[in-house]
């Protein structure tokens, strides 16, 4: 039997994602990739992987796996009950796995998307240079055909026994509990077709995430904003673009968006904030704040610097009990 993690139960919607598929918008292929890139990157970093390595994006939860290999895994993102062989384990840290171990995820308590990375990454045949699963395009993933994980799938990975357990420092972990997000916006595209009043309304109002929100885009509900345009010649849509159809309700276009579209757009949400948006549940609160492209650029560089400078904590042993003992000794 080849080695990997066997899917016993796929959960609600679990997908193989790497950093995304780039350079193929010209033939209509979208980018795909993780909806919460920060959580995805932390999971890979905990496993000592390149930040773009293929991992599992688990929406809502319910995934159960069995290891047929000795390796290391880490789960980040949404707060979800997580156990190995029915022993509760911590998120945001790496865990050793032995052949036969059963990894079980419950359902998200806050946030909605979790990431499970494995040491060395999952070995998935790339299509158009990426393993990213895009259901709508029937591309990517384990079978290269865009299907979500199914029971019986064996997700191949190499033998990679853990040398040490690592943990993401507390101050680096996002908090999804309040189900709200402030999204920074770079104005652009048809911005001038939106009146000053409409723009003021947009930046001073609270919007709610609707049920019609998925990997293509998040549809919001709130005060309507209008542009002077009914439609435009279809044009390229970048990640995070804020599209406003005739009903005035904004749609934030995300990883699996169509590459071109004919609705007016107000600008685009800063990518650093899209992870927060992607973690919101229906009813979640969204507010917007305008920033300049220079501020956006600085924020990107700063965020990368902060991520690179953050040091993972090394746990001395694999067991929580031992840790407590050590602390006890110090105290005594």
């Amino acid at each position: 039997m080849s080695s990997g993690l066997k899917v016993l139960q796929p959960g609600i919607f679990s997908l193989i994602e790497d950093a995304g598929r780039f350079g193929h918008h010209g033939i209509g292929l979208t980018s795909g990739g993780p909806m919460d890139p920060q959580a995805f990157q932390w999971a890979n970093r905990l496993c000592g992987n390149p930040l773009s390595a293929a991992a599992i994006e688990i929406t809502v939860g319910g995934l159960i796996l069995e290891a047929t290999v000795d390796t290391t895994i880490a789960i980040t993102g949404a707060t979800v009950p997580f156990s190995i062989n029915r022993q509760t384990r911590e998120l945001w840290q790496s865990h050793p796995l032995k052949v036969g171990d059963r990894i079980e995820l419950g359902f998200a308590l806050s946030g909605s998307r979790s990431y499970l990375a494995v040491a060395g990454g999952f070995t998935i045949k790339p299509i158009f240079n990426s393993a990213a699963t895009v259901t709508r395009e029937a591309l990517g993933g384990l079978h290269c055909d865009g299907t979500a994980l199914q029971a019986g799938d064996l997700l191949p990975c190499s033998v990679n026994p853990a040398r040490q357990q690592l943990r993401v420092p507390e101050n680096q972990r996002p908090d999804y509990a309040d189900n709200s997000a402030l999204l920074r916006v770079i104005l652009g595209y048809q911005q001038q077709a939106f009146s000053t009043v409409s723009q003021q309304r947009f930046f001073s109002s609270e919007y709610r995430v609707t049920e019609s929100s998925d990997r293509m885009g998040f549809r919001l509900k709130g005060p309507a904003i209008q542009s002077t345009l009914d439609g435009i010649l279809s044009e390229g849509i970048c990640l995070g673009a804020i599209q406003v159809p005739a009903d005035g309700q904004p749609i934030i276009l995300l990883n699996d968006r169509q590459t071109i579209g004919g609705y007016p757009k107000l600008g685009s949400v800063l990518s650093l904030d899209l992870g927060k948006l992607a973690q919101l549940l229906p009813g979640g609160s969204v507010r917007f704040e305008a920033i300049s492209i220079e501020q956006a650029h600085n924020a990107l560089l700063l965020s990368q610097q902060r991520f690179n400078d953050a040091v993972l904590e090394t746990l001395t042993t694999d067991f929580d009990d031992d840790e407590k003992d050590e602390k006890g000794e110090e105290g005594g």
Partner: protein, 230 residues
């Protein structure tokens, strides 16, 4: 005198170049030329390009460059004269089509509404040389324009749940070949046996934005011989 071209911000790492308000032959050629220039100038700072009817979205790597440098590169590309010999994207692709009531369920109604015979519609569809104005909606879906106004037709009031792969279709003044089975609201007039999108091939599409396309009628037997399905 070239039409006014403007560069706007699209997002944190994307600029969009507008070439005019209406698509045309000249704009399609200019977009294709600008895109190939930018691939060279921007090199590894380029992430992706999205050419469309009258615009070009330029997505760059913000960790390697910034919007000032990319604007400069775009201006340079726009000011580079189009060299017809080096413009690889100007290739002419001929797509075979089996036009019939059997393969084109909307052929009759389209002809009736246009006050033409089915034969007229088939002839007119083959007479024009089209430009690939944009690719999108689905992988490999190429929007071809401009269709002769005599056979232009609005989208169906109720889209079909299933349009077969290879369906040759008309909507407004555009025509297209469905690259895969999908829902769709365009008027179906025939079937093309050539795959418009095959991930296992390099290139995976027979056309790219800016290319010229002609349609050529084939009979039922030829269609089936070429691997077409009915």
């Amino acid at each position: 005198m070239a039409p006014q071209r403007t560069i706007s911000i699209a997002g944190e790492n994307a600029l969009i170049v507008y070439f005019g308000d209406t698509p045309s032959e000249a704009i399609a050629a200019e977009i294709a030329a600008t895109a190939s220039q930018l691939r060279i100038i921007l090199d590894d700072t380029l992430v992706d390009l999205v050419p469309s009817y009258a615009s070009l979205l330029v997505i760059y790597d913000p960790f390697k460059t910034d919007h000032h440098a990319v604007r400069k590169a775009i201006r340079k590309a726009l000011n580079t004269p189009i060299d017809p010999d080096s413009n690889q994207s100007a290739s002419l692709v001929t797509l075979p089509v089996y036009y019939s009531i059997e393969s084109g369920p909307d052929l009759q109604s389209l002809a009736d509404n246009a006050g033409l015979t089915i034969e007229d519609v088939i002839t007119i569809h083959q007479q024009s040389e089209y430009r690939v104005y944009a690719i999108g909606f689905a992988p490999g879906f190429a929007y071809l324009g401009e269709l002769d106004p005599r056979i232009a037709a609005p989208r169906l009031a109720t889209p079909r749940q299933k349009v077969p792969r290879g369906a040759v279709a008309i909507a407004d003044r555009q025509t297209a070949v469905y690259p895969a089975e999908s829902p769709g609201g365009w008027n179906l007039i025939g079937l093309c046996p050539q795959l418009m999108f095959d991930p296992s091939l390099e290139p995976s599409m027979p056309v790219q934005v800016g290319d010229r396309v002609r349609f050529k009628a084939i009979d039922r037997e030829t269609y089936l011989d070429m691997g077409g399905l009915l």
